[in-house]
């Protein structure tokens, strides 16, 4: 019985969302508000149990799960107070007089991530890529790879006008980019069609039992 109810709800909501293809209507509005509201609430719970509880609440209050301390050890539990305090400072934005304090955690957060990302990006996107593309020009494939890469790099060079040799190389680069995008487009469209097939299969098989 429960399966029938949930399948029916799923089918009604699926059709409500698809009704948007015709135009905006009350059924779509209902489905939209339902999914936005439920997902916002769901992620609130996810955020708490995946981030706040293991990283702040459990270490500070020495909560244990199955006899094992969660998160930081008993000697370093106080470290959890730092991100906890920074997180609380974000809420100072609700108090205009001290709202400026809320910029500190944002600055630490954004700056920290930008700094931490620099080294791995330099390794993965620069050094490794150069090494992988330092190919001998002994085959047509290698010539295309190296030529395409140099052309694409030229396209993303902003300090000079794309004229003369630079213009030709940038043109080669954009051609390679578009060929790549075209291939990616076709590949992704195929995967989206499979998603559509999944929904149609749900409606015709699980709900209506026609196939």
């Amino acid at each position: 019985m429960a399966a029938i109810i949930w399948t029916t709800i799923g089918a009604v909501l699926t059709l409500s969302v698809y009704s948007f293809l015709y135009k905006d209507n009350p059924f779509y509005k209902f489905a939209e508000h339902l999914v936005v509201g439920i997902s916002a609430g769901y992620y609130l719970v996810i955020y708490y149990f995946n981030f706040i509880q293991p990283n702040v609440v459990s270490p500070v209050f020495q909560l244990r799960l199955g006899g094992e301390a969660i998160g930081l050890g008993s000697n370093t539990w106080w470290l959890a107070l730092i991100p906890g305090l920074l997180g609380l400072l974000l809420y100072t934005r609700f108090f205009p007089k001290i709202g400026w304090v809320g910029r500190w955690p944002l600055g630490i957060y954004v700056g920290g991530y930008a700094g931490l990302g620099l080294s791995p990006i330099m390794q993965a996107r620069v050094l490794d890529q150069i090494g992988a593309n330092a190919l001998p020009l002994t085959s047509v494939t290698n010539i295309l790879v190296v030529g395409g890469l140099l052309g694409t790099l030229t396209y993303f060079f902003f300090s000079m006008k794309h004229k003369g040799v630079l213009g030709v190389m940038a043109r080669v680069g954009i051609v390679f980019l578009m060929v790549g995008f075209g291939a990616s487009f076709g590949y992704t469209v195929m995967s989206r069609v499979s998603l559509l097939i999944g929904r149609v299969s749900f409606l015709l098989h699980d709900c209506l039992h026609l196939i």
Partner: protein, 414 residues
Amino acid sequence: MLGDRGRSGGIGPMAGFVALSVAVAALFLCPVAVFAQEETETVALETLLPIAPPTGLMAVDTPNDRGSSIDVTWELSADDDNDGIVAGYEVFRSAHPETGFVFVGRVPHGETEYRDSGIDNSEPTYYRVAALDTDESLFFSGTFGPVEAFSQWFNRSRLNVMVAVIIFVVSIVYFVTAAKSGKELFIRRLAGLDEMDNAVGRATEMGKPILFISGLSSVSDVATIAAINILGEVAKKTAEYNTKLIVPCADPIVMAVEQEVVKEAYAKAGRPDAYNEDDVFYLTRSQFAYVAGVNGIMVRQRPATILYMGMFYAESLVLAETGSSIGAIQIAGTDAVTQLPFFITSCDYTLIGEELYAASAYLSREPILLGGLKGQDMFKLIAAAVLVVGVIAATLTATGVIESNFVLPLLATG
């Protein structure tokens, strides 16, 4: 008849032939049988005899790591010559040299090293390695230790990364300093960004809002940071033109940052009173719920201009198609390679990859951002030069002119 003859004691011609055949066969087969018996005994003896244990046991802290790991090495057992007697090696660890050894891992025969992970730093540890025979019997080496795991401050295998980062930072600092000192820095024209003013102006003329979507990623993503920078410039223009700017966010931290950025932009434009905090709001983190919400905003508020800047996933085409259906002018910018084709086909202008990063400098013309962009260009030039040298070296290596590609070790990281 034959039996009768036999019983009579005489040997008939047929019986004699059979007897002779058996004797000849015995003569030839006998050595084979003896050899087979000897081989069986040899194998049996070998399986009973102990195999030689591994020798030369060594254990050192794993270099260039953050601790908790020790590398154990040994020399192969003298019986490990691929005849199947040695099945593998088992590594044992203890906090004491004599007792308490526990199994930590096994490697197949022919292997001479094992990385023992997940141990406590600065704790004296002892190791033994045993050769394992086909009967699962163990033949232990001597004990090695004590050895301690500890973290290194510096990862030497990534020295080249540090050099590259230093070159990158120095080039940016140089150009930022030059820009601040008043030096004019040229940046080529970017069509999509030139159109940004027109897009804001169009919304103003039509009396409709501008919708800014900064993707689904968090501020840990470079594309999101670039999008936030662009949002600041767009917000300045909307503040000047008194045009409504709607910014639905998928991440609460991004929302907080974007509220601050828009608020500051309105203040810089001299219109702090025009800033409405409710126009920069959190929708949901769920991908397609976010899409449903944004699509609803598009069809109900009908923005004249929609800007997609940042990191996008499968939602890109759904959003851009809906935006296209309401007749909005759309400008997109992302470094998501798989989503760029969809934006290119459904938007009026698309910033491809690094053009997104350049956008904020291009729009604002602020010395710091311009200097950063020029510094990146300089680094790209250096990277292209290294690539050309690497390709030449690889070609010379492939044609036998030089022995090895000397560029590749400089680029390799641990």
